[in-house]
């Protein structure tokens, strides 16, 4: 059931000293989600999470840059919702209105398994470059740049 790490997939296995209901809330309650999701120094001014199959998610991350605040939007859809057990959603970088920007369409899968008062969480985050011209473009740009910089 749990996928293996590959170059296109991050898999992280963690056990938290908390019940599955609380870990589930970390992913599904906007207030809780905003408390941990943003990188250090960043904030999550918008987290709209319609947690049901087909429900949209819309997250804004704001971080300071040398040229002022940078706002990034992430939008997607929940595809599997089994409360306290399994959550799957898709996500991509978009503009504020939801139009795809650069970057892959990705899928995040969160499996929870409570044992006693602890909960094991296996998260996998998969990049789906197919059908995503922006993603390919970005990767190609990086590849080209790296080739150029390494003088080949």
């Amino acid at each position: 059931m749990t996928e293996k790490p590959t170059p296109d997939r991050v898999v992280i296995d963690r056990t938290f000293d908390a019940p599955a209901t609380l870990v589930w809330a970390m992913w599904t309650d906007p207030e809780q989600f905003a408390a941990w999701y943003g990188p250090n120094g960043a904030t999550i001014p918008v987290a709209e999470l319609d947690v049901r199959v087909g429900g949209r998610r819309r997250v804004c991350m704001e971080m300071p840059t040398p040229d002022g605040e940078m706002r990034m939007w992430f939008q997607g859809e929940h595809t599997v919702v089994e409360p306290h057990r399994l959550l799957v959603y898709t996500e991509r970088v978009t503009d504020e209105a939801g139009a795809p920007a650069h970057g892959d369409l990705t899928e995040v899968r969160v499996e929870l398994d409570q044992a006693g008062s602890r909960t094991r969480m296996v998260m996998s985050h998969l990049g789906i470059p197919e059908g995503s011209p922006g993603a390919v473009g970005w990767q190609m740009a990086l590849d080209k740049l790296e080739a150029k910089l390494s003088g080949s």
């Binding site: 790490p5 590959t6 170059p7 296109d8 997939r9 991050v10 992280i12 963690r14 938290f16 000293d17 908390a18 609380l22 870990v23 970390m26 809780q32 408390a35 941990w36 999701y37 990188p39 250090n40 120094g41 971080m63 840059t65 040398p66 940078m70 892959d104 969480m121 998260m123 985050h125 990049g127 990767q139 990086l142 590849d143 740049l145 790296e146 150029k148 910089l149 390494s150 003088g151």
Partner: protein
Amino acid sequence: MDEEQLTDTFVALANSTRRAILGRLALGAATVSEIAEPFDVGLPAISKHLTVLERAGLVQRGRNAKFRPCTLDASPIRDVASWADQFRPVWEERFDRMEQHLQQLQTTDRESAP
């Protein structure tokens, strides 16, 4: 590579002038005025871009030489080349914060319980 460095690298690369500067430095070390020459913007703007590149570890500046020539270090770009490698440290840090947040929540719950 930690998340802050990763962010710095992406911020540094997300600008066509800075990518052009890296392209120029791929040909060899150059002073700020040599780098600025083909661009329409002035020296202060180029200096600002170089500072961003330097913070990301993509450019190193000589300390002692009078004109502080800039040289290229492409290793941060190789670090973001793999999709999974790029996201793993981001998630690891997020889950560190999730763990702290869970602890705080449960401590507060216990303290506020009668």
